[in-house]
Amino acid sequence: MQVTGTVLTTRRVDAYHALTVVAPGIAERFRPGHFVSVSVGGANTAMVTRRAFYVHDVKPEYGGTVELVFSAGGPGTAWLAERRARDTIDLVGPLGRPFPLPRDPVHCVLVGSEYGSAVLFPLADALAERGCRVDFVLGAASADRVFGAMRARRMAERATVTLTTEDGSLGVRGTVSDALPAVVAGTRADVVYACGPMRTLRAVTAVAIEADIPVQVAVEESMACGIGICMTCVLPVIGDDGVTRMTRACAEGPVFRGERVRFEDVGTIPFDALGAPGGGARHVS
């Protein structure tokens, strides 16, 4: 659904901006892993596409608020970073297929890289509600880009929080996937959930496959629509029938089973994908 939300608060969290927006309809329908798309630039802007953001937090205040966490890079996120309390922003959401939740109280490791960590907290809450044990591995290039360390520590009373930075400025030097095998082994994890850049998800998936446990990854692909109609956000994913299809990250994802995503082929059309040029199917261009 489309909602004109009022900004309630804005704050800086290390390298990130956090925006809490009153958006009752979206908050109500939200499940962990959902994302929203935001119209940027205001009236008469030259920016025609929305920007996608994971929902970090949902609170019941004012009928329902959602919090977005983002880093200001290009012009759209820069515009969003300038929003102030009482400004309105136009949201569409909740979008995508959320994380599937286990029925049983299993052991879960949640792996987040950079702002990808943001999406893990509502997931952790939902898992905890089901009696799951939740351990965190959070990382980034540098300390100021590791998101949610404090909150993770607060949540994970009976569990562990592992932090990694590539420059060693916080926690273990290295990446989340470097640290993951030990955490999986140490916590006797039953499942891994991960969000972050594609290369992180690829490495995390490899760790989970190695440990022979399922892994759910929330991916990020350039999206022009976020609602499944533009076909720009595709990546090669293996279906239940074993066939690889160019699959929409927004509509069929953003959450996929890690081992189904052909990470090494992202950015290509694998020769054996359904409808690949030369792959049995005739092609017109």
Binding site: Q2, R50, C225, T232, M246, A276
Partner: protein, 322 residues
């Protein structure tokens, strides 16, 4: 007072002039989550191809000033799956459906038309001529009147007489009216314009093309003035031919421009990516504008800018800005 928004493509009546643009509404189901598709004048499908197509590698999109570049590459399920799963879903619901088709040879277009000829629920066929002709070194059909006409003639000869054949034209030509005329002479019942002009963007960080496919189609508000001009020129040359105006329509006023230029229906593409309700909003805004200006029927506004009220038809140089 409500405005009579009905419009005609040949003898097919649409309840209102606003359609989706080809390739911008996936299978229809995605948008149905947001609104009732019956409220569209018609749904135009993605361009259906014979075989399933995986499309182009990513990145497939890049934002440009007031525009969007895309290189999706006609990703789609192929005609069999379309006829099995997508069209029946639309047909069962009685949603007016214009089926877009794309091919690499004249024979492929004809074969597609044959597959559609007996399928129930085909309101009209739109022929996407912006496909490379693999028998002519990849030259796009729409860029050459002769090739475009051949495709249209072959499709027209196969389709039932009561299913209009619409030729979808591209702006990357020296004389769009000439291509339009060739298509109409070959049997096109209506025209749709414009498809995306070819554009490109280079990432100044990676120093490489922003799209994996290097070039892509430009859409969005940036191209509205090109669409208005193309519709104007073609309506001037072929005042009797129905035109679906497409290109950069974000508001009712944009749609109104195309209608005043000569379109009797208006396709909405990129706007849907920004606003899933765009078609409904644009239809409402257009109706409001028409009412505010005293129109009782949409039809009275079609092409009106060619005949400004209270003045004789103008003869103006239109070929050059200089």
């Amino acid at each position: 007072m409500s405005v009579d928004m009905r419009t005609f493509l040949g003898h097919v009546e649409l309840a209102n002039p606003i359609t989706t643009a080809a390739g911008c509404a996936a299978s229809g189901r995605e948008l149905a989550q947001f609104f009732d598709l019956h409220r569209l004048g018609a749904l135009v499908t993605r361009s259906i191809t014979m075989a399933p197509r995986a499309g182009r590698p990513t990145p497939r999109m890049a934002e440009t000033p007031a525009g969007l570049l895309n290189a999706v590459g006609l990703q789609g399920p192929g005609v069999d799956a379309f006829l099995e799963r997508e069209l029946p879903w639309l047909a069962q619901r009685g949603i007016k459906t214009i089926v877009s088709i794309g091919g690499g040879t004249v024979a492929e277009y004809a074969a597609l038309a044959r597959r559609l000829a007996d399928a129930p629920g085909v309101t009209a066929v739109e022929v996407n001529l912006s496909c490379p002709n693999i028998e002519d070194r990849g030259r796009v059909f729409a860029r050459e009147g002769g090739a475009a006409a051949e495709v249209i003639a072959s499709v027209r000869s196969v389709m039932r007489y009561d299913v209009p054949v619409i030729a979808k034209l591209a702006p990357d030509v020296a004389d769009i009216a000439a291509v339009a005329r060739a298509c109409v002479d070959a049997g096109a019942d209506a025209l749709s314009m414009i498809n995306n002009p070819l554009g490109m963007s280079i990432d100044t960080v990676t120093l490489k093309p922003a799209l994996a496919a290097v070039t892509g189609g430009l859409s969005g508000p940036a191209i509205l003035p090109l669409a208005v001009r193309c519709v104007w020129q073609v309506h001037s040359a072929l005042p009797g031919t129905p035109i679906i105006g497409v290109g950069g329509v974000m508001t009712g006023a944009d749609a109104f421009q195309l209608i005043l230029a000569g379109a009797c229906a208006v396709g909405v593409g990129t706007a849907l990516f920004h606003d899933p309700y765009a078609c409904l909003r644009i239809e409402r805004e257009l109706e409001d504008l028409l009412r505010a200006r005293g129109f009782q029927r949409l039809a009275d506004a079609v092409g009106l800018a060619h005949r400004p009220p209270g003045s004789a038809a103008r003869h103006l140089h239109e070929e050059s800005s200089l």
